[in-house]
């Protein structure tokens, strides 16, 4: 009871009408309770169990052995490959996505092109996982349409030159299919937030277009650009289905490793698996905090 009274008293500047104050004090808590219970059961508990498991040995005693185990070459390599592919696709998707978004926003392009490409980006950023991997197998696999076309029509032998869809670069090309459109979707609002007056003011003060970009456009967009790319990084970092169905689990990614661990304890130490999984959460948490910090900053500027 006192709990609720305190909330009402400090609940901000809006005076509560008497009719609301009369309702039972526990009502709000009752309504929010199912949500909280659900979150505890299916979000906090599972995370906590992995966290705890990561610090236990097989008998349940506290140990740092699993954390130490994360720093063995095999697991470090998995993290390294995962980070490398996330970084590559985030930067590539980020750069191309920025130019595409800018091309769509800047004008000179008919409205219907812009809106249909935007819609397509919404679709493509959600079209991932197994079907996406298969679409790329039909395209760039050993007998994929593009592979065959390049070989027969242009005499370019992709696989002969070392390309392999089921490897790092193949996976990167495939990831780009959802990274690029995602970048377009998240960078478009900040680009639209660049005000025409800034460009005009800069020109008026004697700046050339490239000077405008160097001194104003790029610095103002930088937090959004970095933030978006970090988000893309996280997006690729947690990907599992696409990588699994493309490489059949042959590429050493952390997600793939966790998947194998769930299926059959390939690490021969369940607790090391928990530490591995929780390690991903830590990386993601760092990434998302940076993202939100950057986003807040750019909103500060762009909302002026």
């Amino acid at each position: 009871m006192s709990n609720n009274a305190r909330v009402v008293a400090s609940g901000g500047n809006r005076p509560k009408p008497p009719s609301i104050r009369k309702s039972p004090p526990s009502f709000a808590w009752l309504g929010v309770l199912p949500f909280l219970v659900f979150v505890v059961l299916f979000l906090f508990l599972p995370s906590l169990s992995l966290f705890v498991g990561g610090f236990q040995d097989a008998k349940g005693n506290f140990t740092l052995e699993n954390i130490r185990g994360l720093f063995t070459p095999f697991i470090l390599n998995a993290y390294w490959v995962t980070i490398k592919i996330s970084f590559t696709t985030a930067v590539m998707g980020g750069i191309v996505g920025f130019f595409l978004a800018y091309a769509l926003v800047a004008g000179g392009v008919p409205n219907w092109v812009r809106s249909s490409l935007m819609t397509f980006c919404g679709v493509a950023s959600n079209f991932a996982g197994v079907p996406l991997a298969q679409a790329f197998i039909f395209t760039l696999g050993r007998v994929g349409l593009l592979t065959v076309f390049l070989k027969e029509a242009l005499n370019i032998d992709l696989y002969g030159q070392g390309f392999n869809l089921y490897s790092f670069w193949g996976l990167s090309v495939t990831y780009l299919y959802f990274q690029l459109p995602l970048m377009v979707l998240i960078i478009t609002p900040p680009i639209e937030g660049l005000r025409r007056e800034w460009r005009e003011a800069a020109e008026n003060l004697g700046a050339t277009p490239s000077q405008y970009w160097w001194h104003i456009g790029i610095p103002v967009l930088m937090p959004s650009l970095l933030g978006s790319m970090i988000l893309l990084f996280g997006n690729a970092f947690g990907a599992y289905a696409t990588a699994l169905s493309l490489t059949g689990g042959l590429i050493n990614l952390v997600t793939i490793l966790i998947g194998s661990q769930i299926k059959g304890d390939v690490l021969h130490n369940p607790n090391l698996g928990y530490a591995l999984a929780f390690g991903m959460v830590v990386v993601m948490a760092v990434i998302m905090s940076i993202y939100y910090a950057l986003r807040r900053r750019s909103e500060y500027w762009l909302k002026q």
Partner: protein, 266 residues
């Protein structure tokens, strides 16, 4: 000026080619199930495969239940927090964004570890596994659900609406069912379609919890040995995604863009 327009078109052209070729290659392949001619045989075989339809229905059901559970949890929470405890709003928002931090593979790992024994064993029967799947999807969908419900409520100013309804003598059930819910319809529909788009093709949770009962794992299974049918399935699932995204645009929830960030069936 002219130069800029050229570069704009350049990037659009490159992207279009990149977006288009895989779809074309897959579609082209799906028409070649019969040697030497174009046919819809692959689509026919796909339709005749009972597992595919069954799994699609199963995943749709799971999706609908996910939406139902998600809205039941989220709508009253957001509403009450806005009305009675605005101080708690950042807390709820923070909790709702947490799933972004947990990759699907980690979530399913944690769910299995937590519920394969102990006080609440859910993994030893089908009902329990199905429920675990739904719960997992609700967790994954939490950020979008929160964002669209919250945006919907701030768009209609629920506090004032509630006070207006109360001053006219409406009871709490009446307020909820006749004032709040109808005004949230487009926000809730947008969240629903997005959730469905995520759930239908989702592979990671599905494969570990229910296996080949769900659509995502079935697409994968078909892709392992029957390439033509698989290509037809890819086209179909692309169309399904497209339709659902189109519906989101149709119900007018702009900002699906922001909602579709960083989850989905990767």
């Amino acid at each position: 000026m002219k130069k800029n327009v050229f570069w704009n078109w350049f990037w659009i052209f490159i992207s279009l080619v990149y977006f288009f070729i895989p779809l074309y290659a897959t579609f082209n392949f799906s028409l070649k199930a019969r040697k030497g001619e174009l046919s819809l045989l692959a689509y026919q075989q796909m339709m005749e495969d009972p597992r595919i339809l069954r799994s699609l229905i199963f995943s749709t059901e799971i999706g609908l239940l996910t939406i139902l559970l998600g809205l039941l949890l989220m709508v009253p929470t957001v509403y009450l927090v806005r009305l009675k405890a605005p101080r708690l709003r950042p807390v709820i928002e923070f909790i709702s964004l947490l799933p972004f931090v947990i990759p699907a593979i980690v979530l399913v790992f944690g769910l299995i570890r937590t519920y394969s024994g102990g006080l609440l064993p859910l993994t030893n029967n089908y009902t329990g596994l199905n429920f675990l799947l739904i719960a997992g999807y609700v967790v994954i969908g939490l950020p979008y659900l929160y964002r669209s419900v919250d945006a919907g409520m701030s768009a209609i100013d629920v506090v004032t609406l509630t006070e207006a309804a109360q001053s006219l003598g409406a009871s709490w059930p009446t307020i909820m069912l006749r004032v709040i819910i109808p005004n949230l319809r487009s926000a809730m529909l947008g969240a629903a379609f997005l959730t469905l788009a995520i759930v239908l093709g989702e592979f990671t949770l599905a494969t570990f919890l229910v296996g080949l009962k769900a659509f995502g794992p079935v697409i994968w299974q078909v892709g392992q040995n029957r390439a033509y049918e698989a290509s037809a399935l890819v086209i179909v699932s692309f169309i399904i995604t497209w339709v659902l995204m189109g519906l989101i645009n149709f119900v007018g929830r702009r900002g699906a863009a922001d909602g579709s960030v960083a989850a989905g069936p990767r």
